[in-house]
């Protein structure tokens, strides 16, 4: 499972970096979204991958699933939601004001 999660995070990050470097605003927004998905998964996995463990310490349980990364991920998801919404609106505004969707506002043939 660790290898699969690591692979997914790596692929998401690679896609995110590639798309963020594109010249049009829509791929850039998608790239930022992929990057935030990757980092959310990464944060989540930082509490270690455990199955069937209680989220807080119980006397009978052998171990526990770390609840803190889940709280961190929730915060990060909320923030990245807000940021994505903002950057989409900004990209639309740029498209309307600059007349095209190039990140530098350049007209290309």
């Amino acid at each position: 499972m660790e290898a699969l999660i690591a692979l997914i995070i790596g692929v998401l990050t690679a896609c995110g970096v590639y798309l963020t470097l594109r010249a049009r605003t829509f791929p850039v927004v998608l790239g930022l979204t992929f990057l935030s998905y990757a980092v959310n998964l990464f944060l989540f996995a930082m509490g270690r991958l455990t199955i069937g463990q209680p989220p807080v310490i119980a006397a009978q349980a052998a171990g526990y699933a770390d609840p803190l990364p889940q709280a961190l991920v929730l915060t990060a998801i909320v923030i990245s939601f807000g940021m994505t919404a903002f950057v989409i609106v900004l990209a639309l505004k740029a498209r309307a004001e600059l007349g095209n969707d190039h990140v530098d506002g350049r007209h290309e043939p």
């Binding site: 963020t20 930022l32 990757a38 980092v39 930082m46 990364p69 961190l72 807000g82 940021m83 506002g105």
Partner: protein, 505 residues
């Protein structure tokens, strides 16, 4: 537990919410409330300076959860110093804005207060993830302030600014996640303990996370490879927003100082002095490149923006010396450069307003209205920024060079700082003569008087007087800076105050 520690965080938040509730009420109410909130913040920040002056470190555990389980706010001398600088800068930026620029779009005052909320929180927090959250708050507010008033160039600059900062936030989260995954804590004092005790096999990951974090702070501080977002963003936003943003790069510098003295400082065992070999060369290169930008700038506001880049170079050069004298010199230089560049942004706007079509482009134009007073103010601001005696810029540079006397890189530091000073002097002298000396005779149709003078010049004069205060009161101010540096270089005091608040062994 001292509840005043959280007041500088809560006050702008509540003021922002109240301003939002006022809605479309008379703009006078918004202005009065906003200025009043900033005035109280200055008072609170000064109270915190007094409370921490004796070397006490005030810890506020949110919800009374003890560290490292809960989030703590920590007010030490460094945090209080930054709060005072922020609040004073905010007052004058706001006084400039309430002449009418705050009406150019909606919610200026709300965003302004929320930006202060983020800034104050970032300075006070003692938790790394909480620092990320406050960074996001101040960035989100700054996106709104940057775009305030609208316009094509502002939108284009804003898009770059937002995307770059979002990528920076992602890297911040990766670094924080790695540190948590390896060390199992995010409280900065607890991190310091655990980094020092980290086993050798986990050191590479800790170092990687620490350097990633340095990359993020370098991005916020606009250090060399990452400064490209700054000039366009600062040059195209509205003048009061640009003046307030003068503190934003200093948040990155503060982050570097805090994290790399506390967590990765000299006591950090195998991860000690993590960025020592990176910070100084990058800072010197930033200084030179920033000054090259100042010389090459074609617009006055662009020139001021590059001066911000160069000032970050000077500031981090001082921090990069990694000794108490260097950090103290940097802490003395920090308020000076913040106030001086903010004054220059406001001045550039006041000048551009009187040149009609030419705006702030550096081309000879007709004599502007009130050129005597504005020229005089420009002269004072330029002397301060370029670091000529007798003003505070010179003292800051002198203190930095004096702290560098024993440093192995002395020739490089000396060469870069002095060459940058010369370049800045040439560029600003050229700008001044172009705007005020080589002006063409006034056009017959030109209006005799420009826009209302008092409202514009009072905030500029106020900022320059603060700089003058730093010069005249250099003795006490530098003593305070020295005390801050001594405290910052003794991380065990901070760790003790946070982890063991009762003082019990």
């Amino acid at each position: 537990m001292n509840h005043w520690v959280i007041a500088p965080v809560l006050l702008p938040l509540l003021a922002g919410i109240l301003l939002l509730l006022l809605g479309r009420a008379n703009p006078l109410w918004h202005r009065v409330l906003s200025v009043f909130a900033v005035l109280i913040q200055i008072r609170l920040a000064l109270a915190l300076v007094a409370a921490t002056g004796g070397g006490d470190i005030l810890v506020y555990a949110l919800g009374n959860w003890p560290a490292p389980f809960g989030i703590v706010l920590v007010a030490d001398r460094l945090a209080a110093w930054m709060l005072v600088i922020t609040a004073l800068l905010a007052l004058f930026a706001l006084l400039y804005a309430i002449r009418g620029e705050d009406r150019a779009g909606r919610h200026f005052h709300v965003l302004f207060q929320l930006q202060l909320f983020g800034l104050n929180g970032a300075f006070l927090t003692g938790d790394l993830f909480n620092l990320f959250v406050f960074f996001e708050i101040l960035l989100l507010a700054s996106y709104g302030l940057l775009l305030h008033g609208g316009g094509r160039r502002r939108t284009r600059a804003g898009l770059h600014f937002v995307v770059v900062n979002l990528v920076g936030s992602t890297l911040f989260l990766f670094a924080v996640g790695t540190l948590y995954g390896v060390l199992g804590t995010l409280n900065m004092a607890d991190l310091a303990i655990r980094v020092a005790a980290a086993p050798p096999e986990s050191i590479p990951l800790v170092r990687a996370a620490g350097l990633l974090l340095f990359g993020v702070f370098a991005l916020k501080a606009a250090l060399l490879p990452f400064y490209l977002w700054l000039p366009a963003a600062y040059a195209h936003t509205s003048a009061p927003a640009a003046a307030l943003f003068a503190i934003m790069t200093k948040v990155g510098a503060y982050g570097i100082l805090r994290v790399y003295t506390l967590i990765f400082g000299a006591d950090a065992g195998l991860a000690a002095d993590l960025i020592e070999s990176w910070l100084l060369p990058l800072a010197l290169a930033t200084l030179i490149v920033g000054m090259a930008g100042v010389v090459a700038a074609t617009h006055l506001r662009q020139q001021a923006a590059y001066l911000v880049v160069a000032s970050v170079g000077s500031l981090l050069t001082a921090f990069g010396l990694n000794n108490a004298a260097g950090i103290a010199a940097g802490l003395y230089y920090l308020p000076h450069t913040t106030f001086a560049t903010a004054a220059l942004f406001l001045l550039a706007d006041a000048i551009a307003r009187r040149r009609g079509e030419l705006g702030d482009r550096l081309d000879p134009g007709p004599v502007i209205a009130n050129s005597g007073l504005l020229g005089g103010l420009f002269f004072v601001a330029a002397v301060a920024v370029a670091g000529l005696p007798p003003l505070s810029g010179f003292l800051g540079k002198f203190l930095t060079l004096r702290a560098a006397l024993d440093h192995p890189f002395l020739p490089w530091i000396m060469g870069a700082v002095l060459a940058a000073g010369l370049l800045g002097l040439i560029a600003l002298a050229r700008t001044g003569s172009l705007l005020f000396h080589r002006a063409l005779p006034p056009e017959a149709s030109a209006p005799e008087t420009g826009p209302a003078l008092a409202g514009e010049t009072v905030p500029i004069i106020g900022l320059l007087l603060l700089g003058l205060g730093l010069t005249i009161g250099a003795g006490p101010v530098f003593d305070q800076a020295r005390a801050i540096a001594d405290q910052a270089l003794q991380p065990q005091l901070y760790i003790q105050a946070v982890m063991n608040p009762g003082g019990k062994p």
